[in-house]
């Protein structure tokens, strides 16, 4: 067979073999939902997300952390997340002295608090340091989530020591339904995009005693919102309903505001709508944007981060 024919065949097979694990993800929706519900609970309690993996799984850990810290969808609240595999000096220091298997467990012991979430990525489910990291996190009381491929478990070694399996250390095991590491990664990317999106959905729909705070019109389509972000999609601040530091409607979240007067030193007076429809005026910083009176800006912790509507559109829905 010529190289060209081999490549044609390989191309065809490559795309076909991705269909089945892609569809299988839909069948895991309840499993994913349960994980997100628990993750949202931890974020609500002030917990942070700690992610780790090796090789490409380390790249995934970095992607997951940036996804939560700096969402691509404007107006979504930043959630605290760190990727342990990013720190090359620490990784190599632990690797050289205690061994690679300790690289995540050691960092977790110093960084984690019981309200946190540990998320380990291992495409073949056999990474010793990911399993040890999850074990350490589990013992500390963290919520533990494992993102794995559908690989046959390793042959148990003939030792007296019990073998650590992921089921004993992870509260939630999410599987990509394939053993091919490249396809596992692709399914994982969709899975963690869903984890991010659905964790926000559960954060915005608190389960108990919050009937009066349910925001409406929540977007769950994951569409890019950079330029076309509709201010109506961004929940407004509402201090009246604030009950704790982790309240999603009034903590670290972006909100639209209309500039009514420019002040000295990059400051401005701006009007914001409260959840009850009342207008309140507050001082914000417009130092980072080119804003004029009448413009609608997106504010984050009192700082305007983007002009989302020029003044000419003022008053339009």
């Amino acid at each position: 067979m010529s190289v060209a024919t081999t490549m044609q065949l390989a191309l065809r097979n490559a795309f076909i073999q991705r269909d089945s694990p892609g569809h299988a993800l839909a069948r895991d929706s309840a499993r994913i939902a349960r994980a997100c519900q628990d993750m949202a609970d931890r974020f609500r309690r002030g917990g942070k997300l700690i992610v780790f993996g090796n090789g490409g799984g380390g790249a995934d850990a970095a992607h997951i952390a940036v996804e939560f810290m700096h969402p691509v969808i404007v107006g979504k609240r930043a959630l605290p997340a760190v990727a342990l595999s990013n720190d090359a000096p620490t990784m190599t220091a632990i690797g050289a002295r205690e061994g690679l298997a300790e690289s995540f467990a050691h960092q977790l012991a110093s960084w984690a608090t019981p309200s946190d979430i540990a998320l380990g990525v291992s495409r073949d489910g056999r990474c010793a340091n990911v399993l040890r990291g999850l074990r350490a996190a589990h013992d500390l009381g963290l919520l533990t989530v494992a993102l794995l491929g559908d690989t046959e478990p390793a042959e148990p070694a003939e030792t007296a020591e019990p073998v650590e399996t992921v089921e004993t250390v992870a509260d939630h095991v999410l599987l990509a339904r394939t053993a091919d590491p490249a396809v596992v990664k692709e399914i994982h990317v969709t899975t963690y995009h869903l984890l991010w999106e659905l964790a926000h959905l559960f954060l915005e729909h608190p389960p108990a005693n919050r009937a009066d705070t349910l925001p409406t019109g929540t977007r769950t389509d994951g569409r890019a919102g950079d330029q076309e972000s509709d201010p109506a999609d961004v929940p407004a601040r509402d201090s009246a309903q604030c009950s704790d530091d982790a309240c999603v409607t009034c903590s670290d979240q972006a909100a639209p505001a209309t500039v009514v007067r420019l002040l000295h030193s990059g400051l401005a007076l701006a009007e914001t709508a409260t959840g009850t429809g009342e207008i309140s005026t507050e001082e914000i910083s417009v130092a980072l944007v080119d804003a004029s009176v009448g413009d609608t800006v997106l504010t984050h912790a009192g700082e305007a981060i983007a002009v989302i509507m020029k003044g000419a559109h003022r008053g339009r829905p």
């Binding site: 060209a4 490549m7 390989a10 490559a14 839909a26 091919d180 869903l194 005693n209 994951g222 890019a224």
Partner: protein
């Protein structure tokens, strides 16, 4: 009184929904979550098929040209921002240290050296972080592969200008309509994922570069088992 601890039956909740508002709300959120997951899974499967139709033949040509470069000593440099920077790292490690069988090939992600990235950003500007590295490391026989979901990242555009000036093979992965990378008109290969969702674009790009890796290995004559991507 154990009966009080049991969850209310479907019938009870139907009769007295006001007694169980939390339960009803949770169920509606769970139903929405399930619907959302199923919709996203179906969407990315559809998008992958569309990409296979659109880009299949061009992926083969691109892989052949990459293989030619590698065969004559060329190296691969990858770059991108945010989530795409992690893809750049994934591409580099996939070529340099394949997960399964495959010939290791020289590849470097320009996003990993935080000393260089912060030095250039601080001293010159963020737009040059990749271009300056290519100017220093790149040679005419090399390959530049950049990812941008919008196609509009200024530092990715500048990097491609520099790579093109040096005579490197340029491969771009973009989304939506390709943004500035399309307007630039100087890339040897540009693969655009036709979606408005940053998430779906990233997911389909992951498939694109994995298939590109596999086809490059085939073009180099590496024999891969049929089941391996």
């Amino acid at each position: 009184m154990a009966v009080l601890d049991e969850p209310p039956s479907e019938e009870m909740r139907g009769l007295y929904p006001f007694l169980y508002p939390d339960q009803a709300r949770l169920e509606s959120v769970l139903a929405e979550v399930q619907r959302s997951t199923e919709a996203k899974a179906a969407e990315i499967v559809r998008l992958r098929r569309q990409v296979a139709e659109l880009d299949g033949d061009r992926l083969i040509v691109c892989a052949q040209e990459m293989a030619t470069r590698f065969a004559s000593g060329g190296r691969l440099f990858t770059f991108g921002n945010g989530g795409s920077s992690t893809d750049a790292q994934e591409v580099a490690t996939a070529f340099l240290h394949p997960a399964g069988p495959g010939r290791p090939l020289p590849a470097l992600s320009l996003t990993s050296d935080i000393a260089v990235v912060t030095a250039l950003s601080n001293d010159v500007g963020f737009d040059v972080v990749f271009a300056r590295q290519l100017a220093a490391l790149g040679r005419p026989g090399d390959i530049a592969l950049g990812l941008s979901t919008s196609g509009g990242s200024a530092n990715v555009v500048q990097a491609f200008r520099e790579a093109s000036r040096l005579g490197m093979l340029t491969v771009g992965l973009a989304g939506d309509r390709g943004g500035k990378l399309t307007e630039l008109g100087l890339l040897d290969h540009l693969f655009i994922v036709p979606s408005a969702s940053v998430h779906r674009i990233q997911e389909a790009q992951t498939t694109l570069y994995h298939v590109l890796w596999e086809l490059t290995q085939h073009a180099l004559g590496t024999s891969l088992p049929a089941s391996t991507t």
